[in-house]
Symmetry: C2
Subunit: 144 residues, 2 copies
Amino acid sequence: MSANSRLTIAAHALAWIGLYQRQGHEVATSEQIATSANTNPVVIRRLLGELRRAGLVESRRGVGAGWSLARELESMTLLDVYEAVEPGPLFAMHRTTPDQGCVVGYGIQPAMQGIYEGIEETLRHELARVTLADVLRDVLAAPR
Amino acid sequence: MSANSRLTIAAHALAWIGLYQRQGHEVATSEQIATSANTNPVVIRRLLGELRRAGLVESRRGVGAGWSLARELESMTLLDVYEAVEPGPLFAMHRTTPDQGCVVGYGIQPAMQGIYEGIEETLRHELARVTLADVLRDVLAAPR
DNA sequence: GCTTGTTGCAACCTTAGTTGTTACGACTGC
DNA sequence: GCAGTCGTAACAACTAAGGTTGCAACAAGC
């Protein structure tokens, strides 16, 4: 499925900012988060930019700038993050229109569309059940 | 998410073979299916080859050769097809190991793994609820 | 045995998406 | 003005999917 790690990295960044703020800091820098996630700061800035557009985080510029949460972790779900960073549907239709003269070619897309919609709705429901506070709790619960 | 159409095309092929057999034919060729799906016969053969390895279809060679169902459409679910054609997990972890000296970097992978497993289990359960006979019924129910 | 139609499969190209990287302008606290 | 950080563009590297061509393997029918 060519799985991507965007949801994982976004959750990582949010958990990191949330923990950092709990420790009394105002803002976190993309540099710090990138070090924790072992990637490049630009990758983090790109992802957090999408989360900012979705209203999950805020950013400040200038000296002492960085990122902070726009809402409590308790009020953020994985669905919010998923919708912010994953553009398209889970399953795709044919890349080219199937033969409309064939019974199957004609009916397959509406059929699959209906089935996929139900499945994606269930997926969204599952993602909405997990808050970022749950994620951070699980992160901190990892045995040393 | 870079959605792919493998599941859609595989379901299309199975529905096509199933309908063709209901009409009294023994085997379907990749050429016929490719015409209906508006793609290349090799693409169909590659997909059906994976379904054959999963025990869903059989193939014959030689003149008058082609593909036939190995089981009834009623006993095949979208989960069977999904597992046959989709190799990896839905969500990926970090491509590089996060900073193990950081609390979040250390705990994020086990945390997300647990969450993702639950979600994928739900997805599989949903896919298992839909049989290929359901798909064919929906295909034939499309309004003209 | 030859012909023919089909699968099996390897090789290659194109396209698209993600990730990583560099560079530099914009902004702001000091 | 300086320094630190975001915002963003540009580009390369990598991966996966899909499309295409070519050809060997196979088997039914003659």
